[in-house]
């Protein structure tokens, strides 16, 4: 049951109607049942793991408050449990492979077995939400949640369980405890976000995806120019895919009266530096890493060296969070390097003032980010070797991937870029709400028509499902 599928919209319709018909005291029960059903419909075998994680973290949270003398020990258990689950499912095989390679190079007769379990969907997201909660309680920033129902919905809430945004307990507990009346504005904003998210995913991401996949799945066959174009298109695919998901998630939550964290603020169109980009891109993860990794690491120190080391740790963690393998670690390291170089070069103070300078900075930032994302997209260093070989081939023919698909990419990208340039730091729902009725409805109907006309309607999974 994908966000872009008909069954999901039927499910959503039933949940929304039932939600507003039910008295307030039963609504969280409904959300929990709906969320577990939603998760079960996608990956039934791992619903138990989600419930287990909920129970363990709930008890740990209660314990942290009830037994202040054992806080450290309970925090250790919490970290071990949550990171242990993540490690087992995401990284065990990877580290096992590396260790086995080391053992064999030293001719040691040791072998770490590999498991063949698939990755539980959404595990990176809900585990970080659980970890954030445990740390908040430990630091005394919030009180532990007494109500198991509220805590369960917090972790399982269906709009955000699969790909975030990684919500914060402080913000969400409040919302799960308060009443949400049916408000027209919530529906209007929710609808705007869902429509915009569907457009991004179906028109932009999936059309570009068909091209990018065709090229990256067979790199040696493609020319220098094709690989450059693909490198420049991939950031837009990634953004439209994940940004589209986040918009739909926020829109769906809004229909139920909830405000989820804003995850993107036009990062690929309006960022003037990589530092700026990380304030606009995947905000819920970046701010999570800032609050729970970077700041604790820094403590009260403000030395430049420690700041840089903190940045390296934070982005290596981001790389590891994203996926398994050296390519993600390298991608994380590159991001840290960009930030440090920008700081040392005083990039923020350069090329300021006129529109041309700002356009140059935005273009430069986009290219730099796109190059970094090559490491994010390619599965191995070997493929990177193939890519470098093909890039050096000086073949300037361009793979078109079918005239229709190229035209669809062009249409989708132009609409996305034009609208995003106008949005800047606003979200689509806020921006469109301020417009005249004709422009508003014209935009809704155009987005709907373009999606029906050129969208990939029976499309692919969201990219971030794999994380």
């Amino acid at each position: 049951m994908q966000f872009t599928s008909i069954p999901f919209f039927i499910f959503l319709f039933v949940v929304v109607v039932a939600y507003y018909i039910l008295p307030n005291r039963y609504r969280n029960y409904l959300l929990l049942v709906a969320s577990y059903y939603f998760y079960f419909s996608i990956q039934p075998e791992y619903l138990v793991l989600l419930i287990l994680s909920t129970l363990v973290n709930y008890l740990l949270g209660r314990g942290l408050e009830a037994y202040p003398k054992r806080k450290k020990m309970l925090l250790g258990v919490g970290l071990l449990f949550n990171l242990g689950i993540l490690f087992f499912f995401k990284y065990f095989n990877f580290f096992g492979e590396q260790l086995n390679a080391i053992f064999s190079s030293f001719s040691l007769n040791l072998k770490i077995p590999q498991h063949s379990l698939i990755l539980p969907i959404g595990i990176s997201f809900y585990t970080f939400m659980a970890l954030g909660y445990i740390l908040d309680v430990y630091w005394g920033d919030i009180k532990s949640q007494r109500n198991l129902l509220t805590f369960s919905v917090y972790l399982a809430f269906f709009p955000q369980i699969l790909c975030g945004p990684i919500g914060r307990a402080k913000n969400l507990f409040k919302q799960f405890s308060s009443e949400h009346p049916l408000l027209y504005d919530n529906f209007a904003n929710g609808f705007r976000l869902v429509l915009w998210g569907l457009f991004k995913k179906m028109v932009v991401a999936d059309n570009i995806g068909a091209y990018v996949d065709a090229v990256y799945n067979n790199i040696p066959m493609h020319s220098t120019l094709t690989l450059i174009v693909t490198t420049l298109l991939y950031p837009l695919q990634l953004y439209a895919d994940f940004g589209g998901y986040s918009d739909i998630a926020r829109g769906v939550a809004k229909l139920l009266g909830f405000d989820l964290m804003v995850n993107f603020r036009t990062p690929y169109v309006n960022s003037t530096s990589v530092t700026d980009y990380w304030k606009r891109n995947h905000i819920s993860l970046t701010s999570w890493l800032r609050d729970y990794v970077f700041f604790p690491f820094m403590g009260t120190s403000s030395s430049k060296g420690k700041v840089y080391l903190g940045i390296v740790i934070m982005f290596l963690a981001s790389g590891i969070w994203h996926g398994v393998g050296w390519m993600f670690i390298i991608w994380g390291a590159i991001q840290a390097l960009y930030l440090i170089v920008e700081d040392l070069a005083g990039w923020d103070k350069k090329f300021v003032g006129n529109k041309i300078s700002i356009s140059f900075k935005k273009t430069f930032t986009y290219i730099v980010i796109a190059i970094g994302l090559v490491f994010f997209r390619l599965p191995s260093i070997k493929e990177l070797g193939h890519m470098l070989n093909s890039l050096l081939s000086s073949n300037w023919t361009l793979f078109m991937g079918g005239s229709s698909n190229s035209a669809f990419i062009a249409i989708g990208v132009v609409i996305l870029l034009v609208l995003e340039m106008m949005l800047d730091k606003k979200q689509m729902d806020q921006w469109i709400a301020e417009k005249h009725l004709v422009l508003r409805w014209g935009t809704y109907l155009s987005l709907m028509t373009v999606t029906l006309l050129i969208g990939v309607l029976d499309g692919q999974d969201f990219i971030y499902f794999q994380f």
Binding site: P181, N218, M221, F408, L453, I454, G455
Partner: protein
């Protein structure tokens, strides 16, 4: 009461009215565009309009080749025609699944019954599931097509509630065809020029030339293939299943199913998938799955010889 407190009647009314207004307006726009595109599409008979099907179903040949990319690029009808004395048309098309082939056959049969159909059974995998989109424009025009589409997709009725869905992702092809229409191919055959890229050969060599393992098959594809065989038998059309060469020898996961359908319907099987004259010969291939023009000429000659033997044996 909490229940009444949380629901404002004016807000509900506003939500319902605006939702209905949006659905109605978008449906009207969708229908308008549908009629415009349908008008152009149904009057196109070839070229790049995407209305390739319109041409095929109006042809009258003795023999037809059905299948996906490995059909349209691998069988030269002129060689078959020359060897067997049967007029022949290649009705294959890229990335089209068995449900599409069944629909195409049914539409062809409404106009003409051929003597022989050769079906390239190259791909029954779910990845070709979207191949049926080639028949979406006929959903409102042909009940057989409507039934085939609805059998393969339980949500088809909901999706087609917006008529524009029938022309999803087709408008550029229709527009280009409208602006630059050229006559349909006489044979339907589209050979691939060039040879395999050295990088691709190196990659296959790196993977130790492991025989290609071909994954799961689409159950809908199997049902459609059975119906296809049934339709041919009912109409007295000679049906032959053929599996053309691949660069890496492969035994598809669905071959047992194919064999069973062949036995059940008394269909001869012609298998060249592991033929030693072709495998690992980059000069005969465009990519791992597709022969180039040289490979196709060579293969069609061998295939036509096999076909002659089968037709003689079958009388």
């Amino acid at each position: 009461m909490a229940r009444t407190l949380s629901i404002s009647n004016s807000d509900i009314k506003k939500v319902v009215v605006k939702a209905i207004a949006f659905l109605t307006l978008s449906w009207i726009i969708s229908s308008g565009l549908y009629y415009g595109l349908d008008y152009v599409y149904m009057r196109s008979y070839g070229g790049n309009s995407g209305a390739y099907v319109n041409h095929v179903i109006r042809t009258k040949y003795d023999a037809y080749i059905f299948g996906a990319s490995r059909a349209v690029h691998h069988y030269d009808p002129s060689i078959i025609e020359e060897k067997l004395g049967l007029s022949c048309y290649n009705a294959g098309d890229d990335a089209k699944n068995p449900a599409y082939q069944l629909g195409l056959l049914k539409m062809l049969l409404a106009n003409h019954t051929p003597k022989l159909v050769i079906y390239e059974i190259g791909d029954l995998s779910p990845k070709l599931g979207k191949g049926i989109m080639g028949l979406h424009p006929y959903y409102y025009h042909n009940d057989d097509i409507k039934e085939i589409i609805e059998t393969g997709d339980k949500w088809a009725k909901v999706k087609f509630a917006y008529p524009l869905y029938a022309y999803n992702r087709k408008f550029v092809a229709i527009l280009i065809g409208f602006l630059r229409s050229y006559p349909p191919s006489e044979t339907g055959f589209r050979p691939l020029a060039g040879e395999m890229h050295p990088g691709e050969i190196a990659r296959i060599n790196e993977s130790s030339k492991q025989p290609g393992s071909v994954g799961n098959f689409d159950p809908n594809a199997v049902v459609s293939l059975r119906l296809f065989a049934h339709e041919c038998r009912e109409k007295g059309i000679g049906l032959i299943f053929s599996f053309s060469p691949s660069y890496v020898p492969r035994e598809p996961a669905w071959m047992d199913v194919i064999r069973q359908i062949a036995v059940d319907n008394d269909i001869p099987l012609v298998l060249y998938g592991e033929n030693l004259q072709f495998i690992y010969n980059p000069k005969l291939f465009k990519d791992t799955l597709h022969l180039n023009a040289n490979g196709t000429r060579f293969f069609t000659q061998l295939f036509a010889d096999s076909l002659a033997v089968i037709l003689e044996r079958e009388g």
